[in-house]
Symmetry: C2
Subunit: 419 residues, 2 copies
């Protein structure tokens, strides 16, 4: 037996690959079953339409229609593409099958964008903070991510202008702006409608593309958000400047791996070839289960229930945090989606707190994972989507104990968790 | 509305992307329903274990076990990884979950290999001819493929040595050799056992990796091939020099998109991160359907049936070709798998014949698509896996008419199809 030096075989991308903070937290979770996890943005499993899927799978497999289990077209199952065209129209977005591709989760959509558009050292502008999955996909091809600060209604336009001017002044190639306007991962921020218009104008003026990632759009909380406030930037895109991604992972189930990508036909032709090289096609069974869930009204029935469910989950977490922390923790009020973005006050640090929290039996994602630049450690991302209300309360109590542990004896005289 | 010049946004990879010949044939097929297709290597849909899958899906969805529809670990569903370890042992390959990752079809495995190992201009040595999916995956990262001629038992070792020496003399970085030893796509060739040993020795001597792609291994034809002749190169790899790919697409169904990748732990850690960035994870439902199909004995029951089925399909095509062409067409006798690699005699050209065949209602893949170098147009790849025996006979008759059309009046006095 001779020993192989693998380092010599890795590509530059391979050498640079690092595990993401969120996936690492998933491993921690898998290793410790009593852990309360506020880390991954998993949907609540009990909300999946189990019985409807069972009936659909039974019909599809009984049919012995080859398309259910055979290889399929790279773009996706044609009837599903037709259904997506209709679904997109309900979002105000005009599309057609030649502008759509089904993807293996939105992560694959981001990966296709990276491969088709980005050379090493090309720049993608992103929100500060931004979604780690997008960061991984864009960095995997060697692109550089440059963050731009956000205001309460989304990106700060002056900062955006200044950043672009600086980068272009340095001779850098800026290809696109990546945004998650609806209930952003990780902040939960809802970008204002006026700001969306400004971003599209800005991209047109500077001849850039916008990559709009929209997985949470249907999960607005009706007590504080109107559907009209979720209008996609892509809905006002007449030039074909917006690449739009959305998914059924949060509304039907992630385990079917069905999401979609909408873009101008000239871009889509390349995305299709990149998908061919990546995995040939999505699975037929998953696509047809989603198609039937749309056609049979399962998806439409899910959405109001999911909105009410996740709103109640948010309420549970917010109430528990108020009870346990009082004013010692502040956060952006989530208006939809899965996440609460909390600001640790005083000397606390989300990275340093994590092992202490883990020892107390609760995990989250340290906010630093979402910042492509700067050393910002004040924030933590708490997902309220997956745990039961009881586990949310337990997890918040454990988090409060961890904060007490971290901040020392003064706090420990009045244990935070017993408030 | 302003017009967008998309070309400025494409990466070098994006600009270079070209549609594969096989997928293009798939589009032709979709557009013309009476076409007999010998083009894509699709398994026979009637052989899929429909009823078993229906029972399994029913049980899984009835269970409401979150893992069925939730996000899962990037490496794959743990019980499936355990089953794969056992399955690999039956192939003589020692592995463990830390050396395995479930992939979204073997195409994703090839893509992960490309991303983790290959820089632009790195060289991959491949068989002449070689599988187009691998060619696409490796080229998508800018790697260069260099072909090496094959003898009747596989790669010519002198040509392999000479090619490597030449490339290294030119200062090129050669990373690996890509091979499909069992019933190769497109030739159907079975590499000899002695040749396999020589290839592993060669890779060790020259400190290279071998990428062994093995989707057809279980589909040996018992009349002319013994299972022992399919022994994987990976079975004799003690150093961790072989990256091995296999799949359930040909033995259970492609529409579940479940395949796997086996490699040394140091490589697998990088493949896992690359898969995270690509699509986070495979779907739970597909993985658990495969896992149950293994555990319930569905897979084991399939294999002898599939061997007999595809052997009969081969017999049907071979008989039809003998009847229609006599000695005017020659081919390598398929000893397993899905493909017959035919050599057009005389002045005929597989590329030029294709539109003529299409006009007659039959398609195939022109052999030139599988050659990474040279201008080799004598061959055509005929898949006998998907059409019914009746359609195979009809397709061969149409092909004979096309050849008559192409070769002109002399042949047309005795129409080939009526023989």
């Amino acid at each position: 037996m001779t020993s192989v030096n693998y380092d010599q075989f890795f590509s530059r991308s391979g050498l640079a690959m690092r595990e993401s903070a969120i996936r690492r937290m998933g491993t921690v979770l898998a290793d410790a079953r009593d852990m309360v996890s506020f880390a991954p943005g998993y949907p609540t499993e009990s909300t999946f339409p189990w019985d409807a899927f069972r009936a659909i799978a039974d019909d599809l497999l009984r049919s012995r229609q080859g398309t259910v289990l055979q290889y399929g077209a790279t773009r996706g199952y044609r009837p599903l593409l037709e259904s997506l065209t209709t679904l997109m129209a309900t979002r105000g977005i005009t599309t057609s099958p030649d502008r759509l591709t089904v993807t293996n989760g939105s992560q694959q959509g981001l990966d296709l964008v990276a491969r088709v558009l980005l050379n090493p050292d090309d720049v993608v502008l992103v929100e500060l903070p931004s979604y780690t999955g997008a960061i991984s996909a864009f960095r995997s091809v060697g692109a550089e991510l440059v963050g731009v600060a956000q205001d309460a209604d989304g990106l700060n336009m002056e900062a955006l202008d200044a950043t672009l001017a600086r980068l272009r002044g340095e001779g850098r190639t800026v290809k696109c702006l990546y945004v998650v306007p609806n209930f952003q991962n990780p902040t939960g921020l809802l970008v204002g409608l006026e700001k969306r218009r400004l971003l599209l104008d800005w991209a047109t003026r500077h001849d850039l593309l916008i990559v709009e990632d929209d997985p949470y759009r249907d999960l607005y909380f009706e007590d504080v958000t109107r559907e009209s406030e979720t209008r996609a930037i892509a809905a006002d895109d007449v030039d074909g400047r917006v690449i739009y991604l959305s998914s059924f992972s949060k509304t039907l189930a992630p385990g079917l791996r069905v999401a979609w990508l909408h873009a101008a036909p000239a871009l889509m032709a390349k995305f299709e070839i990149a998908k061919q090289a990546s995995d040939l096609c999505n699975g037929g069974l998953g696509q047809q289960m989603v198609h039937q869930a749309i056609e049979r009204g399962v998806l439409a029935a899910q959405l109001p229930q999911l909105r009410a469910h996740y709103q109640a989950q948010r309420d549970c977490m917010v109430d528990a945090l108020h009870g346990a922390f009082g004013t010692a923790l502040t956060w952006l009020q989530p208006r939809g989606g899965f996440f609460l973005w909390a600001n640790l006050s005083g000397p606390m640090d989300g990275d340093a707190l994590l092992p202490i929290a883990q020892a107390r039996g609760v995990i989250y994602v340290a906010g630093s994972a979402f910042f492509v630049s700067g050393d910002e450690r004040r924030f933590i991302r708490l997902s309220f989507s997956a745990p039961t209300p009881e586990r949310i309360r337990e997890g918040v109590a454990r988090l409060a104990l961890a904060v007490t542990d971290a901040t020392g004896a003064a706090a420990s005289t009045t244990p935070v968790a017993s408030r």
